[in-house]
């Protein structure tokens, strides 16, 4: 199979908004492609494989040797993207009759070639490909596919295609490497399950269900343990003789972005915890942590200004010993003694919140207003650590959201199933000078009926259009719910909402009676005054 097949897959993935459709495309790729093509393609999509054989400037030089500068200028102006302009404008030399290369040919040749030969190599391949293939090649060799396929999505596709549970695939995932031949043999049913041995692999996390009133009524206080639900990101720390890794909740390896955590992982264990930015013992708002996320590398200044730490929830492995079958109470005892013994830097324990009755716990939850706390976690005292979302073992009991009455300002069409609906809403509140300033954007929380109503209202009250965006009459008030509010220099209003969603449409309320910016700012002030550690 050639690079052209990979290009066709890329092309479809780039334009496909729906998760299910992406999964179908990936399943087809695994089913139809031979080894090692399917594995290399998989690694390229998830950016496990990142070539940096060529810089964009080198590709541009290649094309300029055979393109009229004026036509290049007009074309680049029109297309707007360098790689795409090159792919489209490239004129294969006459008489080139070679078949397009396979993905594996490209990878192998680039590894073997001396630097000076790489431009000629790339030019030769470009001559054998069509426009789609050329774009795929350029993106591949310059190291930036960016097609929106996470490793997690790829593993789900592998699971669906092979019929194996995704948890099993996740456990071996980080123990296999490009082009994943043993993994595919196992999934094909022609080989044994790959044994990760000492490799630092990810174990799928145990997840919680949201607690509803009916569930709460059925609980007996003495069977449950409570912890604060910290507003960071769930992580798994894996360290041992085989290496050290920091994994996100979905199993992405985020080690490179948090070198200070890696440095502190001088132990042999697997831990579950919350990654936070903590300054002088105080958990910073989520926005601070966000500065550190999605980075391939991190500067010393970043580490100084936004120091990362982990608040530990659970101990999964103590050296080789698998603690997951033990009840929560036993694991907790092991976690506490392990922590006292190992005393790792940048890691503290998530304290248990003592309570006598569920009523008392409910009051604690209501009282918690610190921005870094999302609510409470309830864990069954006798529950083992099981991956996935098993009902009845762990509950997340988020505190009641904050709300604000805001005015709808702009609406944008959604994607996929919602592509014909104006489903993304930008809303604002009034500043003292009478100007309406946007404070956030929401695209959930409404029912199908409410969505249809909003869509109609927007179409009938449009005052301006900017491409896919409509500006609307300032006449509709939306009650917006959110978990927290933080200061933000990136927004004109100076505030940023956490998890905003539409709680209600306030058809009864005139726009001029919507909330003022000062009201929202006061919510920040009260959260700060509350202090960091309630309970």
């Amino acid at each position: 199979m050639s690079l052209s097949a990979f290009a066709a897959l890329l092309e479809r993935l780039v334009f496909t908004p729906g998760r299910n459709a992406k999964l179908a495309l990936l399943r087809q790729w695994f089913a139809e492609q031979p080894d090692p093509e399917r594995g290399i393609g998989l690694a390229a999509l998830t950016e496990e494989l990142r070539l940096s054989a060529a810089r964009p400037a080198m590709i541009r030089e290649l094309v300029m040797t055979c393109t009229d500068p004026e036509l290049w200028r007009l074309s680049y102006d029109y297309v707007g993207d360098m790689a795409e302009t090159v792919a489209l404008i490239w004129q294969p030399r006459a008489g080139v009759n070679a078949p397009p290369p396979a993905l594996s040919d490209v990878v192998a040749a680039l590894e073997a070639a001396p630097k000076a030969e790489i431009p000629a190599l790339i030019a030769g391949w470009l001559d054998t490909l069509d426009a789609g293939g050329r774009l795929a090649l350029i993106k591949l060799v310059t190291g930036g596919l960016r097609v929106g396929v996470s490793a997690r999505l790829a593993r789900v596709a592998l699971a669906e295609w092979s019929g194996r549970p995704v948890e099993e695939i996740e456990e071996v995932w980080h123990g296999v490497s490009l082009p994943y031949a043993p993994l595919f043999r196992w999934l094909d049913g022609t080989g044994p399950r790959p044994d990760p041995r000492e490799a630092p692999v990810f174990r799928p996390l145990m997840l919680a269900h949201p607690l509803e009133a009916a569930d709460l009524a059925a609980l007996r206080a003495e069977e449950w343990r409570a912890e604060w639900k910290w507003d960071g990101i769930r992580v798994q720390l894996v360290a041992g003789p085989g290496g050290r890794r920091l994994f996100s909740r979905g199993g992405e390896d985020i080690s490179a972005a948090f070198p200070e955590i890696l440095a502190a992982m001088d132990f042999h264990a697997v831990l579950d915890g919350e990654l936070l930015v903590i300054r002088d013992g105080e958990v910073a708002p989520f926005a601070d942590l966000q500065q550190r996320l999605n980075r391939k590398t991190v500067t010393a200044k970043m580490q100084r200004d936004h120091p990362a730490a982990v608040r530990l929830y659970d101990l999964l492995f103590d050296a080789e010993e698998d603690l997951r079958p033990l009840p929560f109470d036993a694991r907790r005892a092991r976690l506490e003694s392990w922590h006292a013994r190992a005393a790792p830097a940048r890691m503290d324990l998530s304290a248990l919140v003592p309570f006598d009755s569920l009523d008392a716990l409910a009051r604690l939850r209501e009282g918690a207003r610190a921005a870094a706390i999302e609510g409470l976690m309830l864990k069954r005292a006798d529950a083992p650590y099981v991956s996935g979302r098993v009902k009845g073992l762990w509950w997340k009991w988020k505190r009641e959201p904050l709300t604000v009455d805001a005015v709808l300002m702009y609406a944008q069409r959604g994607h996929g199933r919602r592509s014909s609906f104006y489903s993304d809403y930008t809303f604002g509140v009034w500043r003292e000078d009478g100007e309406l300033v946007p404070i956030g954007k929401a695209y959930s929380g409404y029912t199908d009926e409410e969505l249809a109503w909003l869509d109609r209202w927007i179409r009938n009250n449009t005052v301006n259009r900017f491409g896919p965006v409509r500006e609307v009459e300032r006449g509709l008030v939306l009650e917006v719910a959110f978990d927290a509010v933080q200061r933000s220099s990136r927004h004109k209003s100076g505030v940023a909402l956490r998890f905003p969603r539409i709680a209600r449409i306030r058809r009864d309320k005139p726009a001029e009676e919507a909330d003022r910016l000062a009201t929202v700012e006061a919510m920040i002030a009260s959260a700060l005054a509350e202090g960091e550690r309630p309970g």
Partner: protein, 350 residues
């Protein structure tokens, strides 16, 4: 080829506010407002306007105009001219040659006092089962469009694009594939190409596409079984192909479809950013216009020392023609490119 004594065509074929006017013949070509005498290259609304007194065109174009505008609005009197027939209009020799753009589309060829001009209208060079293929006519001045006149526009083989569509239908059998396409030409070409590719199931049509498909069939172009999508049940549209105007594919109309895969068939789909703007999930690069290579090849083939560019991206085309020793001139005709692919989707779509 033009005798040195022949008057230069710019002295008798003039750009006026109503469009190109042949002075000695006393007629306009594709005028943008109602005139006494009009020669019409093809039925798209930016070339064929209602309300002219006398209209000359191919029989197919006249039928299409009548179907779209209603009897009487498509010329008080209509005169059909067959390919290969020649007329004398006040000393101007006039004949039509196929342009390959849509059914009935013609190049308007004029000769006066030894100088020959070919007004090509919109044209393409790829085979199309619904339109007679383009025939080059040597001339002194070739009047061309420039819709896709940038070297980034090289249309892939249309059969390969149809194959991509059918492959997607096979991959997503529970979903409706709705293909945005213009109601005159592209819609019928897609239907005919799907038939060529072996798609035998009924093709569903948006209401706006029904009338012209019937006109095509009446003119002898078979399109196979057609259904109206508007009255179909969602269940029946699973795995179906629906042809609809580009403005409808991602809007309210499309909600009646089963989890639609939104496709769009247009030369603009070549550029990703353009395709993404319209919310398209499967862009199909199928165009009824000449691409960059074809524009240049055609200009050379007709051997005209001078090429006039009516509308589109004339800068690039005139620059490239200059490098080939051909004098280019931008006519800046107004009101062109308002139907079919003349405008990029982001700008045209509501």
């Amino acid at each position: 080829m033009r005798p040195v004594t022949a008057p230069h065509p710019e002295t008798w074929l003039k750009v006026t506010p109503a469009g190109l006017f042949c002075e000695p013949g006393g007629f306009f070509i594709d005028p943008t407002r109602a005139v006494d005498r009009a020669v019409i290259s093809h039925g798209h609304s930016d070339h064929a306007r209602p309300g002219h007194a006398h209209v000359l065109a191919t029989a197919e174009t006249l039928a299409i105009m009548s179907a779209r505008m209603g009897e009487g609005r498509a010329g008080v009197s209509q005169q059909a001219l067959r390919f290969g027939e020649t007329l004398d209009v006040n000393g101007v020799r006039l004949w039509l040659r196929p342009a390959g753009h849509v059914l009935g589309s013609a190049q308007v060829c004029l000769e006066w006092r030894g100088a020959r001009v070919v007004v090509s209208g919109d044209y393409k060079r790829r085979p199309d089962p619904t339109a007679a293929g383009f025939e080059p006519e040597p001339c002194d001045v070739f009047v061309t469009e420039a819709t896709f006149a940038l070297p980034v526009f090289r249309h892939p083989p249309p059969e390969a694009e149809i194959a991509r569509l059918l492959r997607s239908v096979a991959l997503f059998p529970e979903r409706t594939h709705v293909v945005g396409c213009y109601s005159l030409g592209k819609c019928q070409r897609l239907a005919a190409m799907l038939r060529q590719a072996g798609w035998e199931a009924p093709i569903h049509l948006h209401g706006a596409h029904v009338a012209l498909c019937r006109t095509y069939e009446a003119l002898g172009i078979p399109l196979g079984p057609l259904r109206t999508a508007t009255v179909a049940k969602k269940e029946d549209l699973k795995g179906a192909i629906v042809l609809a105007p580009p403005s409808a594919i991602a809007d309210r109309w499309a909600r009646r479809l089963a989890e639609p895969v939104v496709c769009n068939a247009s030369g603009w789909m070549r550029v990703r950013q353009r395709a993404k703007q319209g919310g398209v999930e499967l862009p199909l690069v199928i165009s009824d216009h000449a691409d960059w290579d074809e524009l240049l090849a055609t200009a050379e083939e007709v051997q005209a020392p001078e090429v006039w560019v009516t509308h589109g991206r004339e800068d690039a085309l005139i620059h490239a023609l200059g490098q080939r020793g051909i004098r280019g001139r931008a006519l800046h005709l107004v009101g062109r490119g308002e139907e079919d692919e003349g405008e990029a989707p982001g700008e045209a779509a509501a």
